[in-house]
Symmetry: C2
Subunit: 383 residues, 2 copies
């Protein structure tokens, strides 16, 4: 059974994170990614720390298995190569500011007229329409403006950035969804489509809870630290040697939790979820007077045995060594380029499909322009 | 031009968030969603606060436009209806714990034998394989165990939950990607596929930066509050009336920022990004001695004019009134069920496609079992 996107070629003009994250997903699903980089410097993330053996570990993981050709889209000779690539590609991805592709002569309308089957996927800070379309944006700008920083952080404290770059990443994921839908649709209609994803837009649907609270109550929610805003007990707790989570989402689980910890399950102050929310700080102290007496491992084993959802708060080193994460093949070595070189590590593919073989390693990321000869040869020899 | 997933029918057994988030995306792309709910109570989120007119605003937004039939999959009469639905569906979504569908007689292997074109999408806490497959999980459990809480929060402070439920949501997005890839692939092979998404798995790829740091340096990163860990100045700053972001990602932008704020662009303590990172707290104080003298609106206008990426830290009420977000149609009213009833609000569709008309409102969410007659009638009248 071939991989779902077997035979699909992606021309990837994107750099940094949102676009490359999208093309990595398409690659995991079986597509071939041709990274079209600007000459001399290439993708900005080639210069992003940390480095191993002079190469960016960040770039190496995010671009593992892609192919690179360096083209200056203002130079006639390179434009001629790009035109030939467009004739062979299924998907074009770009993350320029709106208008740049049009000025280069590669706007969607003209490309669609020449290559009606081409799927054109764009991701930008604010999208191709609206009053702020031309403004620059970064992950943190859309995290701020889209609201997620206002609901992240300590209760009563200043806004906190989500540690993961969800401003870029969620946008890249929506772009992948649009591209995949367009691929399916093209099988029916024979026509490509343009997809226009805005990082700011993408922040809104992921805050379904905050939208419901803000619109139904008139009061936008604030940050609540490490606890669920409307379910109790559902937060981190301190053990003797670190933090762990207890997620007792209903009365039955709360009763089990009390029995397990030796607390009084009939305490009227905690009889309902509403009362537990009203007395959340008191309940937390009562639970921690017990949990601080034993290490995290003890509580994970005890709560697991009682069927109460729990988990250790892990740092990234611990997460990358977690037996479940490893068993699911979510941590992959990146194969060094010529049998030597730095040992990079990349995330595995979270889309487990019966039609997609699991990988045990990722191929190396390309050197800048490192696949030029092979790509030109492929253009000369149509399949 | 029909919507990309026009003609596609999804049987949606999922409840709460990850699965319904996925089916909402498929619906935005044109699919018809038949929500198969358990009798009497239905989807748990029908009972989630906040409420308007006795209905959950949370459920109303996340299930807008879906159709509902209540079926008890342990009862022969309801199983007979479900079997007929399977014969007409393209996609089945479920979020039970692993093994539940097999015990009901609806495991993938037996379904694939009977309905070879059916695409089977599953999302669970830990996936269908690995030592912890059978354990229960919630968003916060996978946020904790997957590492994102360890990089979110104040510098040196305790772990903080991401305010958005990215444990559920990113998993639901990966499920949508897998389903879309399988739909495309089915056009080529005639066969469906099983997709097995784990919420814990899905936390790993979104932390590309933390993985690079943990594996290349041996030191897992911690939280950095509201600043970028390796670029300075790139964080929130205080103005007279609130917080805003300055994202000066390179030397040129930093020079412009100094000129704009009246700071010395030649100060040797800030000559490179590395030095600015070393002196991040001093630089922040110097910038805030200026920015605290004017309101946020002043600084947004001033930095916009200078071409420096910036944005207000908005709460959800402000975000939902943001002219750019409104211009992009990202806030939609939910049409009341019979011309009356509560005025719910839902997020718009962030996948803007040339082949997908924009919506100006979302249809209402279904009452429990509210579409039974229409669905049974459809089963009796093959298209």
């Amino acid at each position: 059974m071939p991989a779902p996107l077997s035979g699909i070629t992606v021309l990837d003009l994107t750099h940094v994170l949102a676009g490359p994250f999208c093309s990595s997903t398409l690659q995991d699903l079986g597509a071939r990614i041709i990274k079209v980089e600007r000459p001399v410097t290439g993708d900005d993330t080639r210069a992003f720390p940390p480095f191993l053996g002079g190469e960016s570990a960040y770039f190496a993981a995010l671009n593992a298995g892609k192919h690179s050709i360096a083209l200056d889209l203002k130079q006639p000779a390179d434009r001629a190569i790009f035109d030939r690539l467009l004739g062979r590609a299924d998907i074009l991805l770009e993350n320029y500011r709106p208008g740049v592709m049009e000025r280069l002569g590669y706007g969607y309308d003209s490309l669609h007229a020449r290559f009606p089957r081409l799927i054109y996927g764009a991701v930008s800070g604010f999208g191709h329409t609206g009053p702020d379309a031309a403004k620059p944006a970064y992950d943190m700008v859309v995290q701020a403006r889209g609201g997620v920083m206002s609901i992240t952080g300590e209760e009563g404290g200043p806004p906190v950035r989500v540690g993961a770059s969800i401003g870029d990443i969620v946008a890249g994921m929506y772009l992948a969804q649009g591209v995949l839908a367009a691929l399916y649709s093209r099988e029916k209609t024979g026509e490509g489509a343009k997809i226009d994803i805005a990082m700011l837009d993408a922040q809104i649907p992921i805050q379904e809870h905050a939208i419901a609270i803000a619109t139904a109550t008139g009061h936008p929610p604030g940050p609540t630290g490490a606890r669920h805003p409307t379910i109790t007990p559902f937060s981190t707790f301190r053990a003797a040697d670190g933090f762990f989570v207890i997620a007792a989402g209903n009365d039955a689980l709360f009763g089990k939790l009390c029995t397990t910890l030796g607390l009084d399950p009939a305490d009227p102050r905690f009889a309902t979820n509403g009362l537990r929310c009203d007395n959340v700080h008191l309940l937390k102290r009562l639970i921690e007077t017990v949990t601080l007496q034993q290490p995290v491992a003890h509580w994970i084993a005890t709560l697991d045995a009682a069927g109460i959802p729990t988990g250790r708060v892990q740092n990234m080193a611990q997460a990358l060594a977690d037996p479940q994460i490893l068993a699911r093949n979510m941590v992959l070595p990146v194969t060094p380029r010529d049998g030597g070189g730095p040992a990079f590590t990349a995330a595995g593919n979270p889309i487990k499909m019966s039609t997609l073989p699991e990988q045990s390693a990722r191929p190396p990321a390309p050197t800048l322009d490192g696949d030029r000869a092979a790509i030109l040869d492929w253009l000369d020899h149509p399949a």
